[in-house]
Amino acid sequence: MSATKKSMMLLVCLLGLSMMLAACGGSGGGDATKPETKDTAGTDPSKPFVLGETPLTFSFYGNYDWYTMNPWGQDPATRWIQDNKKVTVQAIQSGGAALQKFNTMIASGQLPDVIWGDRGTDVEKLRKAGKLVALDPYLEKYPNLKKWAGEKTLNMLRSEDGKLYQFPNWYTKKPMGNGGYAVNNKIYKELGSPKLETFDDLYAYLKLVKEKYPDIVPFEVGLLGQGIDFLYAGMAENRNVGQVSLRAVPDGNELKSLFSDPVYRESMVFANKLFREKLITQDAITQTRDQVKEKVNNGRVAIYGDFDTTVLGTEANSMLRAKDPEGGYTMIWPLHKAGVDPKKVWVNEFDSLGWNVSVITTSAKNPEGIFAYLDWLTGEEGERIIFWGPEGMYWQGTNDKGAPIYTDTYKNEVEERSKLMAIWDTFQWAGNTAFIDGSKAENEMELPEDKRDWATVSQTNVAWKTSFDATEFGNIQPLPDSDEGMILQRVSDIADKVRAKALFAKDEQEVIALLDKAEQDAQKAGYDKLLQFETAKWQENLKKIHGS
């Protein structure tokens, strides 16, 4: 008996102690809410900050699980920056758990000077809490961002309060993308190179492949069945793959339900037919990236199509070409329903805002200096150094457009160069797509045809020409902790489920029944409210773009 009493007492003591300590912890968390004073470190506001005169050091956090910044100053490019521009960046790594790291930094009130990550939720949260530095005062003082990104893109990046907080990365005025259909040359040739333009051609070709090559996957749709969304894009004019992941279809001035959209329905019926007849890889939804790679690299697919075709295709192409010069893959113009104008089929989408952004937090001692660095980085000199390294290694001199002229080392030292360029990629926070792609194309076109990079050729000939400008649909989704955010979560679950279920349906009727059910469930979850919210945001975007 007394033993139980004592253990009870001990438990009570433990609880008491933990509560005391908890209280301490709580008040510590409370400190985080105190506004932090901005220290501009005595810089003269009228004069621009000159890199290389005053040393600049700042901390940098990349908000991705997979991102690890290489050590600063350990490679030729950042060493050059350290020596010539006196800039040092201290990395704060996510350690493979970006979400936890990010939340821990906020909760403890210790924000890094620069956060680099996706636009949207996280940036908005920080902005609403007053933790971000507005960049507007610096825009006029530094030339590059304004010049290269342009007024429209910057307007789109502005937050509700009309101020600019985000420094864009890989922003562009030109279409970009990696997706598309690639045809296995060897099989295509052996089957007599039939016409491959419409979905009817596709169906007939896949049937033929299945009959003649039973061990080959007729249509490999990649990770999570991405290629299936291409069927939606080709079913009517001016549809694009992004609408499937947005779970909304624009119709006039309104966003409408994806599930009741006749075009989406038709594409799912077609996808179901291909899947049922085993013309699409049966592991479409469950396979890993390695499984896809294995099939594509060994030429075990007749047609391969997903959002990363030019990425996976490059390696596969060179592997197959090494075995058989006639082998490899060719990217073809996106397939479409008969009667649809092929020039209006979009299997890629891009937005002028680019990929992601850097934001400067109120913890930064010298926000203007950081902006000056990012602005230099996105300009011609910065881009050349961070992409191709310092002058004299892989390039020497520039042409009239500022494009670096490749040296022989660039052409011969492929392995070492690829390694270094991958390292430099981790320092690329202000990518200037127009400049980099333009420079690459200038150099690439100098090469003889068989020496050209497969990805570049595929991109310039097909992928970029079939990329839809989705700038107006950027950032229209609600924050997750709002009512609409909860609805979005439910609708997304429903959409993912019905897309997969439709593949496995036994016939056309079942596909339609599943989509009807999905529509009902989504409506019950509040789909209409979500669509109205997104429509309003979309219309705001349009106004910003057209600059009213």
Binding site: L17, S18, G26, A32, T33, L99, K125, T288, G485, K501
Partner: protein
Amino acid sequence: MKKSISSAPLAGNRHSFWVRFAKQLDLQLMVIPAMILILMFSYLPMYGVLMAFQDYDIFKGFLHSPWVGLKHFRTFFEAPEFWTVMRNTFVISVLRLLIGFPAPILLALILNEVIHLRFKRIIQTVSYLPHFLSWVIVSGFVASMLATDNGSLNMLLQKLHLIGEPVNFLSIPGYFWAILIGTGVWKEIGFSAIVYLAAIAGINPEIYEAASMDGANRLKKMWYITLPGISGVITIFMILAVGDILSAGFEDILLLAKNPVLQDVSDVIDTYVYRVGIRNSLFSYAAAVGLFKSGISVILLTAANMMARKLGRSLW
């Protein structure tokens, strides 16, 4: 162990507590670090559950976030996914309890009957190695083994002419529970069996000898000596397993149920908390659902212990 301590003579007054403490000082010193660990990592963070009753705002912190009562619990109970999630959690847990729990006991019993020592060791090592593989690796194995395209299982079944067309194992809801439980058993059976093997080793060999004299065969000895001999350990693990019943699994389900088709049979409390709560940074909602789960676990644990007490083998 527990029994021997509580049945030690007790004086029952306050002085003797310290006297006894001093006498056991060496033992107590060994226990203290463990107590501190539990205090720091299990009790100290417990104040965080109060977050379930707040609209927690990460910038305002714990002390300044508004209190909202049972709002998040209500949201969860009213969510359309609630019943699916609860059903899956219970079904998967009960299956684990019925299949995953007795499996290592059976293995231990079988291994105990193996006379060839080297063979026994090899089996033991081979069967407990998978425990040290992470679920990411195991799920990779499973995915490629069960793939329709060049998956080993499908190839085997086709060669044996048991099936004509490859079966899409990882996309058919009907197979999911079997795959999940099967993989779990494969991964953990060897390691869990170690405890039971140790308990079996502690049984006095004289009892077996006496039984042999009385003419008991191996099956009889297993049933009348070995099983009762380890029943104490079994009960304790059973109680713990029941308390864990709502932890139907997390990593394994997350990694094996990639196909959204499976969501109707694979979504359990922990994966739901992760998908809806954590990924969207809805801390309060995640805390509320987690707290709900812990509440039920405590009730189940107490109930299981009460039942065990009736059998005279309770945990406390």
